[in-house]
C-alpha cells in the first residue's frame, strides 16, 4: 500500500520533471558554445562509429610513400612507415571517445554510489569512505592515474581502470555533499514515513535531485579523461602499439617532427578539438543547470 502511495507521488511528479527537462534543453540550445560543442561532438561520435567504413586507407597498411606531406592522395600526409595519417586519426577517434566516456561512466557510478552511501548512512561508513576519498583528493587525478598504471601495468583495459579510479573522488565528494543537503528535505521524511526502503529513497528521491552537479562534473571529467588517456599513451603507458591512438601517434612522431611537421600537428589538433567541444558543452551545462558544486574547468 505504501509503495503505491510513493509511486503515485513520483508519477505525479513526472510531467513536471519532463517540463523542466525540455526547458533546460531550450536554454542550452540558446548558448552558442553548447551548440558548437554538441555539433562537433556528434560529428566525432559518428566518425568513431563509422571509422572502419570511412577510412580512406587501412590505418596500419604500410606504403612506400613514406613521410609524404599533405596532398590530395593523403590529405594529412603519411608517417615514417608510409601509413595514411588521416586514416590513423579517424581510427584513433574510437579509442579516445571510448576511453573518455567509459572511464567517466565507471567513475560516476562508483563515485556516486560511494558518495550517496557515505552521505546517507553517515557514521563509520561515512568515515571510512571519506578518509580514502580525502586521501585521493590530495593528488591530481592524472598523477593518481599514473600511480595506478605503475601498479597495474600498461594496456587499454588497465588505462580504463586507472583513469576511472582516478576520477572517483570528484564524484564521491559531489554526491555526498548533495545527499547531506537533500537528506534534510521534507519529501525525504515523507517518503520514509510512507515506508520507502533506504535503497528506494536513495535511488528514486536522492539520486534524481543530485543529478545536475553530477552531470556537469561528468562532462568536465570527460575532457580531462580524454587528455589523461592521450598523455598516458604519449608516455608509452597506453594501448598496444598496433592500435593508433592520438597520443601514441604523437609519441611516434617525436623523432620526425623536424622533417614532417604534419605528424606533430594534426594528431594534437584532433585531441584539442575533441576536448574543446566537451569543454564548451560542460561550461554551457554549468550555466544552464546553475551548478556550483562541480569542479570548475576554470
Amino acid at each position: 500500500m505504501n509503495d503505491t502511495n510513493v509511486s503515485a507521488i513520483t508519477a505525479g511528479d513526472l510531467p513536471v520533471q519532463r517540463d523542466t527537462r525540455s526547458r533546460w534543453w531550450i536554454y542550452l540550445m540558446r548558448d552558442k558554445k553548447a551548440v558548437v560543442g554538441l555539433v562537433i561532438l556528434t560529428g566525432l561520435i559518428i566518425t568513431a562509429i563509422l571509422a572502419n567504413v570511412i577510412v580512406p586507407y587501412d590505418p596500419n597498411a604500410m606504403d612506400f610513400d613514406m613521410m609524404e606531406s599533405p596532398s590530395l592522395r593523403h590529405p594529412l600526409g603519411t608517417d615514417d612507415l608510409g601509413r595514411d595519417l588521416l586514416s590513423r586519426l579517424i581510427q584513433g577517434t574510437q579509442v579516445s571517445l571510448f576511453v573518455g566516456f567509459s572511464t567517466v561512466s565507471i567513475a560516476l557510478v562508483i563515485g556516486g554510489f560511494l558518495g550517496i552511501a557515505a552521505g546517507y548512512y553517515g557514521g563509520w561508513l561515512d568515515n571510512i569512505i571519506m578518509r580514502y576519498i580525502d586521501l585521493q583528493w590530495a593528488f591530481p587525478n592524472f598523477i593518481i592515474a599514473v600511480y595506478l598504471v605503475a601498479v597495474f601495468g600498461a594496456g587499454l583495459m588497465n588505462i580504463i581502470i586507472a583513469v576511472s579510479l582516478a576520477f572517483v573522488d570528484d564524484f564521491a565528494r559531489i554526491a555526498r555533499g548533495m545527499v547531506l543537503s537533500i537528506k534534510q528535505e521534507q519529501y525525504i521524511a515523507a517518503a520514509r514515513t510512507n515506508g520507502a526502503s533506504d535503497f528506494r529513497i536513495m535511488w528514486r528521491h536522492i539520486l534524481p535531485n543530485a543529478s545536475a552537479p553530477l552531470i556537469v562534473q561528468g562532462t568536465v571529467s570527460i575532457a580531462y579523461a580524454i587528455l589523461a588517456e592521450a598523455s598516458l599513451s604519449f608516455l608509452g603507458l597506453g594501448v598496444e602499439v598496433d592500435t593508433p591512438t592520438w597520443g601514441l601517434i604523437l609519441s611516434e612522431a617525436r623523432s620526425f617532427i623536424s622533417r614532417a611537421w604534419w605528424l606533430g600537428v594534426f594528431p594534437g589538433v584532433a585531441i584539442m578539438i575533441t576536448v574543446l567541444s566537451v569543454n564548451f558543452l560542460g561550461d554551457a551545462l554549468r550555466d544552464v543547470l546553475d551548478v556550483r558544486e562541480a569542479k570548475d574547468i576554470f
Binding site: P140, F142, I143
Partner: protein, 315 residues
C-alpha cells in the same frame, strides 16, 4: 594558529604514511614478482632463491614492510635494479631541482600572462578583447600540454633555431643556459594553469567590482586605475589563491608529462622510466617524493591563505 599548524602538519604526515603504505602493498599485490622482473626471467630457480633471501623477500610481507618503512624514515629509498644500481635517493635528489625549476618558472610565466589577461577581461567585460581572452583560455585548457611542447619545438627549435629543443642546464652554468632550456617546457606546462587563473581573476574581479565599497570609492571620484589596482584587485586575489594551490598541483602533473617531451631528467621522467622498466624501487621513491611535494604544497597554501586574508582564523 600554532595549534592549527601542528594539527595540519600531523595530518600531512599521516597522509604521507598512508601513501607510502598503499604504494608498498599495491606494488606487491599485483601479479608479477619484482624479483622475476629483476632477473629478466633467467630460468635459474637457485639463483632466484639466493637473491630472494638476500633482499628479504622470503620474509612475510609485514616484516618487509616494517624494514622498508624504517629505511625510508632514514632517507634510504633502496637502489635502482638497473645498470649501476645507483641509489634511488641520489636519482631523486638529482631530479628534484629540475622539476622544481620547471614548475617554478611555469608558475611565474603563467601568472605574468594570466594576471593582466584576467584584469583586462574583467574591466573590459563583454568587449571583443574579453571574448578573445575567453576563447584563448578555452584553447589553452583543451590543448594537451605535451602537444604544445611539440609545437613549440617545431617552431622555435627545429625551424627558427632560437632555443635548444631538449635537455637541461643547471642554474650553476649560468642564467641563460638554464633559462633557454626551460622556457619552452615552462610555457607548455604553464598554459593550462594560466587559463584557469585568468578566468578565475576575471570572475573574482567582476564580483568585487560590483561590491558597494567600490561604488562608494568611485562616486568619491577615485581614479579608475587606483580603484582597480589598489581597492579591487587585492580582494579579488583571495579566492584566486586557493585555486593557485590546486593549480600548483596541476603544474607538477604537467611537468611529469612535459619533462618526457623535452628529455629533462626530472621526477616525472624518472617516474615514467621507472614504470616502463618495472624498476620498483625507483617507482616507489619517485611516487613518495612527488606525493610529499603535493601534500606539503597544499599545507603551504592553507597557511598562506590565513596570511593573505586576516579574516580567516583557524583555532
Amino acid at each position: 594558529m600554532s595549534r592549527y599548524l601542528l594539527k595540519r602538519i600531523f595530518g600531512a604526515l599521516i597522509v604521507m604514511w598512508a601513501v607510502a603504505t598503499l604504494v608498498f602493498f599495491m606494488l606487491r599485490a599485483v601479479p608479477g614478482d619484482p624479483l622475476a622482473a629483476m632477473l629478466f626471467d633467467v630460468g635459474d630457480p637457485e639463483a632466484a632463491e639466493i637473491l630472494r633471501v638476500k633482499y628479504g623477500l622470503d620474509k612475510p610481507v609485514y616484516v618487509q614492510y616494517g624494514k622498508w618503512i624504517s629505511r625510508v624514515l632514514q632517507g634510504d629509498l633502496g637502489n635502482s635494479i638497473y645498470g649501476s644500481r645507483i641509489s634511488v635517493s641520489r636519482i631523486v635528489s638529482e631530479a628534484l631541482p629540475r622539476t622544481l625549476s620547471l614548475a617554478g618558472l611555469s608558475f611565474v610565466i603563467a601568472l605574468s600572462i594570466a594576471v593582466p589577461a584576467g584584469l583586462i577581461s574583467a574591466i573590459k567585460r563583454h568587449s571583443s578583447l574579453d571574448h578573445a581572452v575567453t576563447f584563448v583560455a578555452f584553447l589553452g585548457l583543451s590543448m594537451p600540454d605535451f602537444w604544445l611542447g611539440i609545437l613549440l619545438i617545431i617552431v622555435f627549435a627545429a625551424n627558427l633555431h632560437w632555443l635548444p629543443a631538449i635537455g637541461y642546464a643547471p642554474l650553476s652554468e649560468g642564467f641563460w643556459p638554464w633559462f633557454s632550456h626551460l622556457i619552452l617546457p615552462s610555457i607548455a606546462v604553464g598554459t593550462a594553469f594560466s587559463a584557469i587563473v585568468a578566468r578565475m581573476i576575471r570572475s573574482s574581479m567582476l564580483e568585487v567590482l560590483s561590491a558597494d565599497y567600490i561604488n562608494v570609492a568611485r562616486s568619491k571620484g577615485l581614479h579608475e586605475r587606483r580603484l582597480v589596482l589598489v581597492h579591487a584587485f587585492p580582494n579579488a586575489l583571495i579566492p584566486v589563491i586557493t585555486v593557485i594551490g590546486i593549480a600548483f598541483a596541476l603544474l607538477m602533473a604537467g611537468a611529469v608529462v612535459v619533462e618526457n617531451v623535452f628529455a629533462i631528467k626530472g621526477l616525472g621522467r624518472v617516474l615514467i622510466q621507472g614504470i616502463l622498466n618495472r624498476d620498483y624501487p625507483v617507482v616507489q621513491g619517485a611516487i613518495l617524493v612527488v606525493s610529499a611535494i603535493f601534500v606539503f604544497s597544499n599545507l603551504l597554501v592553507d597557511v598562506l591563505y590565513t596570511v593573505v586574508d586576516p579574516r580567516i582564523r583557524y583555532d
